[in-house]
Amino acid sequence: MKRVGIIAMVTIILVVVLAGGSGGIAWAAEEVTVEELVANMEEFDEREVTISGEAVGDVMLRDDHGWVTVNDDAYSVESIHEGGDLTGYSNWGIGVWAPRTELEGIQIMGGYKYKGDQVRVTGVFHRACQEHGGDTDIHANRVEVLEPGHPISHPFAHWKLILVLVLAMLVMALGYVWWKRTHPSLPRGWRG
């Protein structure tokens, strides 16, 4: 019985050491949203957290590290150009500072034409990061791409084209009347 206890103890210690050594202590990090982080900065300050969302804008590489912005709002699931609902706010995102090697996996950044890669970020949240002039950020030790991004199709809005044509005809008609009124002395052939 005593031997079983010792084996169990050693196994637990080995699991903890190996998981920690391989950077796999992510399971200890709390899964949160950016909105929760921003609303409770003091509570989450210096704690390890995990967020999941869309990589938007640019990857800005600086030496062996880089910045990426990760949004986890409703638009990161379905942007308004994909038919997503207007939910009543702009975006919820946060700057993630990560090693260059972790950022290399991100290929598509979110914007008007693309839905960005869906990523899962694990790292330490800083309410006022001392390394980055007080920025609110996450220093990530792990960035995983969960789902690759894709182009967003913008179907041609035919009703807008019809509106353009109607307005163009109106402008031409008004312009014709205005031209006739302001240029009354044009030669006969010019006056239609």
Binding site: V56, D58, W67, N71, L86, Y89, G134, V164, L174, V177
Partner: protein
């Protein structure tokens, strides 16, 4: 009281507003070209609709309201105030068609915020917005900073002797050159020169910070437009925090501080009068109030203790303070941080400098440094008079491009405008409190809107009550035009109604 306007008055005003709207339509060609170059065809259609609507309105006004009369003061005031409202309604067309707004009111809010260089916005999902829409947002704040009437004057009112009356009605009193059309063009020349230099500096720093060349170029242009106009718009939802860059923060800070200076001061310096920088009352007033604000901010930060180092104080404290004082609205913190991370004293330091605002005849809003200088000198004169013999004459003067002796009408005028600002700030805050917002947050956003700043402590959002949106639009408009044009517009509407009632009674 304004006498009952004649049909000729109404026609002349309609004609003037038509020209302003044609100017808005011409401005839309820039985002249209941007959308074409970016192959954003849906956005191209949005701007085509907007341009055609503006041209159609202008043609209707030309056909129905063409007048040979010239503008009097009263017409100028109505064209300016009515022109801004009409420009908001037409300018909101492509924004609303983009699909980023739940209601047309929200698009109008953003347009008024852009024109008045406020910077608050209700646009949703900014991080997925097109280049064309972003160009429009930033261009209208850049153009609005010079004044949309200035745009119209530059291109569309040439040869109109009454142009000065419209120009002054937009809240600008400085005549840099004898001819007001040339003054408008000088304002553009100053702004365009800074645009080239400032954008280049920003582009280089963005490239250094790891942005791609093309996007870096567009972002540098937009950031310049947002900072120079003291509008504070940025192409990403995190605003300046998105870039995580000391250099971008430093350059935008320099741009918005320079942008907040009086165009007359710019012109004086440009034409070789460099001593004006040290002597000008507005520079002295700005220096004094920003120093006092910095002291207050330091006390606040010291008590709260979130931002401890000098670097953090500069990038998170002083940056927001200067952004608030110049009524810019660029920000390197989350909006909720003002309430949660700054603490009461530091938050109120930002509120106070926002209320004071930038220089007269600049792109900024608020009480203005000139008026603060006038009131301060007047109070100093009163104290000196009290301690002097009864028969002593104690004159006070200010230096603004040249020496100006203070007189009672000047002091009364300055005090009247300051009181108007205090009233609209307070009413906005009261309305916010009535709707259940925290008093400090309600005050913060109300002062921000009324002084055309654009920082937010979290109240301004698409979910805010419609009545607050309408009142904020009014505040941004009234604050930018400095009340006189607005009072004239309401008097004009009252006079028109009186006239209609009188006609009905007679018949």
């Amino acid at each position: 009281m304004i006498l009952r306007p004649s049909r000729g008055d109404v026609k002349l005003i309609g004609w003037g507003i038509g020209r302003v709207i044609l100017g808005v339509g011409l401005l839309m060609t820039v985002p249209l070209v941007t959308a074409v170059l970016s192959t954003e065809w849906d956005t191209v259609l949005d701007f085509l609709v907007g341009i055609l609507a503006c041209v159609a309105f202008w043609l209707v006004m030309e056909l129905t309201c063409k007048s040979e009369r010239d503008f009097r003061w009263f017409h100028g005031l109505i064209v300016a105030s009515g022109g801004w409202i009409t420009a908001m309604l037409f300018g909101a067309i492509p924004s609303f068609l983009s699909g980023h707004y739940k209601a047309y009111l929200d698009a109008c809010f953003d347009l008024m915020s852009g024109y008045t260089t406020t910077g608050l916005f209700l646009l949703q999902d900014l991080d997925h917005a097109s280049n064309g829409l972003n160009m429009w947002r930033h261009l209208l704040t850049y153009a609005g900073g010079q004044g949309i009437i200035v745009i119209a004057l530059t291109f569309l009112f040439a040869g109109t002797a009454g142009a000065f009356k419209i120009y002054v009605s937009e809240g600008k009193e400085e005549k840099l050159l004898p001819n007001v059309i040339n003054t408008a063009r000088a304002i553009w020349m100053i702004s365009l020169t800074y645009l080239v230099i400032g954008s280049l500096f920003l582009w280089v720093s963005l490239l250094k910070e790891g942005m791609p060349v093309a996007r870096g170029g567009l972002h540098s242009l937009w950031l310049f437009m947002g900072a120079w106009s003291t509008g504070g718009f940025a192409p990403q939802s995190l605003n300046i925090l998105y870039y995580h860059s000391f250099w971008v923060e430093l350059i935008t800070l320099v741009i918005f501080v320079i942008g907040s200076f009086n165009f007359a001061l710019h012109y004086a310096v440009w034409t070789g009068n460099r001593r004006e920088i040290y002597r000008n009352i507005e520079i002295r007033s700005f220096t004094t109030t920003i120093l006092l604000g910095t002291v207050m901010l330091s006390i606040g930060f010291g008590k709260f203790g979130v931002f401890g180092s000098l670097g953090e104080f500069f990038r998170k404290g002083f940056y927001q303070l200067a952004s608030g004082h110049t009524t810019t609205g660029n920000s390197t913190v989350y909006s909720t941080s003002f309430f949660q991370e700054f603490g009461f004293i530091a938050m109120w330091a930002v509120i106070l400098v926002m209320a004071i605002g930038a220089s007269a005849c600049s792109t900024g809003g608020g009480f203005k440094g000139l008026r603060m200088g006038i009131v301060f000198r007047y109070l100093r004169g009163e104290i000196r008079r009290l301690v002097s013999p009864e028969s002593a004459v104690v004159p006070e003067k200010i230096h603004h491009v040249h020496d100006i002796w203070l007189d009672d009408p000047m002091v009364k005028g300055a005090l009247f405008i300051i009181i108007c600002y205090v009233v609209i700030y307070s009413l906005g805050a009261m309305l916010g409190v009535i709707y259940g917002y925290d008093p400090s947050v309600a005050f913060f956003d109300s002062v921000s809107a009324g002084s055309n700043t654009g920082l937010s402590a979290g109240l301004t959002s698409p979910l805010m009550p419609a009545a607050l949106k309408v009142y904020y639009i009014f505040m941004m408009w009234a604050g930018r035009l400095e009340f006189m044009s607005i009072i004239a517009l309401f008097s004009f509407a009252g006079a028109l109604l009186r006239g209609k009632r009188a006609r009905r009674r007679r018949s």
